[in-house]
Amino acid sequence: MAPILSIRDLQKTYEGGFQALKGVTLDIEQGEILALLGPNGAGKTTLISTVCGITTPSQGQVTVGGHDIVQDFRAARAMIGLVPQEIALQPFETVLNTVRFSRGLFGKPRNDAYIERILRKLSLWDKRDSQITQLSGGMKRRVLIAKALSHDPRILFLDEPTAGVDVDLRKDMWDTVAELKADGVTIILTTHYIEEAEAIADRVGVIAKGELLLVQDKASLMAQMGKKQIEVQLDAPLDRIPDALAHLDLALGAGGESLIYTYDTNAARTGITALLNDIAAADLVLRDVQTRQSSLEDIFVDLVKGEAA
């Protein structure tokens, strides 16, 4: 099946010469959730803004459902809903009016039943006649989601949807995203929170300095995270791995003061018992034992650091 969103060599250079996107290429399949991770200023928001039509691309091509975002902008944009990073709402409007306005703006005829369903789903129905100024920060964020969903988009962009929201609301937001996915909506979200990507994404992309460093299935990333290391600190440093331990997949730590063993936590046998027995048999005296698990965050930090170097 053709990807619902196809980005080819997308570049954006702002006036003044800052290159925010350096040739991003990415395909997104219908119904998937992609989390874009990246530090501040990485180009996440520029990428989203360009696809949505807020920023003009300097080079490259983007199609949404096969429609070019420049040549065929009406068809492309009609498929997209955008929840911006900043809370941007007309303060004196009521919730219902502002959501109705969004639907009309996207060319859809008034449909009160549909709007009611969205507002109920987002727990906003009781507040439908409240002015935006009377709402809490979390509710305002939900109004932004309601506006983005008002025209029944097939792709939803969520730009840092849980930045600055409390833990309960974050969990609520994740549930909402899961429900939307169940409805067949494709979701692209940017986030600083690794745990958010772990919790809801099907695929994870890492972006830094305007380049997409990695796009990978979350499952295969989790497999990488499944690797664990045990570091055995020794009483006396070694200059090489003793022959008695050569059959094990060991590495020598810094200064020869430790032995590092990498194993798969998901494997039936981790080999830890054998390792410790063999170390004792080799007459090595242990000072300490530590275990370490690589996380998505480690992978992310390594990638971003590697890019910065």
Binding site: S49, C52, T56, R77, L82, F92, N97, G104
Partner: protein
């Protein structure tokens, strides 16, 4: 044409107007009454007639123009500046609408509000002076074109402005003086000849002159030139707005 979107913008903008209907209604009634008291009664007692028309009636077209122009500019400039200020412009830019549809929505609403104010002032004026309109169709046409063209100018100002002070700058420093010096409350034939020539460089003169002609059949400049001037001004505003959306100036990075 995305008529649903145009309608959505128009209704959204008009809703703000209806929320404050009493303010929108009372303020022009009050200010018009004050103008009639000050200009009509105080000055009118000294200037009996201007070119055969009682001074009170003579100032009505100028008074309508003064309010219509300032209202059209302020409504349109605020209408588009506010989404920029609150950040909600992201929605307009990401919606499947083109510049013409955005302009029609915002400018249409601003022009409607200005037209409403103009009509309220005209009705208020009938309580103070005996008013006969010689060319009603021409009067309506001038009124509509003025509402539209100055709402377009207001839209440009709203896009240009980067803060609330700038939003007031052009109306206060340029538009209001041009209206007051454009023969709103006097005939330019009352000025010394040199000033009459200077005044002809003021585009508002052509508007007020044409509008006044539709009331009394009196004009400072020929009616055809008045129509041409307002058409040229409307065209110029449209061209600037087309350029703004083409280049994304101050709205799209």
């Amino acid at each position: 044409m995305n008529w649903t979107a145009i309608g959505a913008i128009y209704r959204f903008e008009m809703a703000r107007f209806f929320r404050t209907l009493m303010q929108s209604f009372l303020s022009p009634v009050l200010s018009t009454s004050l103008y009639f008291v000050v200009f009509g009664a105080a000055i009118g007692s000294r200037i009996q007639e201007v070119e055969g028309v009682s001074y009170g009636a003579f100032i009505v077209p100028g008074l309508v123009m003064l309010s219509v122009i300032t209202q059209a500019i302020s409504n349109a400039s605020f209408g588009i500046y506010f989404p920029k200020f609150t950040g909600t412009i992201y929605e307009l830019l990401s919606a499947p609408v083109n510049f013409l549809e955005i302009v029609l929505g915002y400018v249409g609403a601003a022009a409607t509000k200005a037209l409403f104010i103009g009509i309220v002032i005209l009705i208020t004026a009938t309580f103070f002076v005996d008013l006969h309109i010689a060319h009603p169709m021409a009067m309506v046409l001038f009124l509509l074109l003025t509402c539209l063209s100055f709402a377009l100018l207001g839209f440009i100002i709203g896009i240009w402005a980067t803060n609330f002070e700038q939003l007031q700058l052009v109306p206060l420093l340029i538009v209001t003086p041009l209206i007051f010096l454009g023969g709103s409350f006097y005939s330019i034939s009352m000025l010394p000849p040199a000033w009459q020539t200077v005044t002809l460089f003021n585009p508002v003169v052509y508007l007020i002159s044409g509008f006044r002609w539709s009331f009394f059949g009196l004009a400072d400049v020929p009616i055809g030139i008045s129509l041409l001037a307002i058409a040229a001004f409307t065209g110029l505003c449209l061209a600037v707005i087309w350029w703004i959306f083409r280049t994304g100036w101050r709205i799209r990075s």
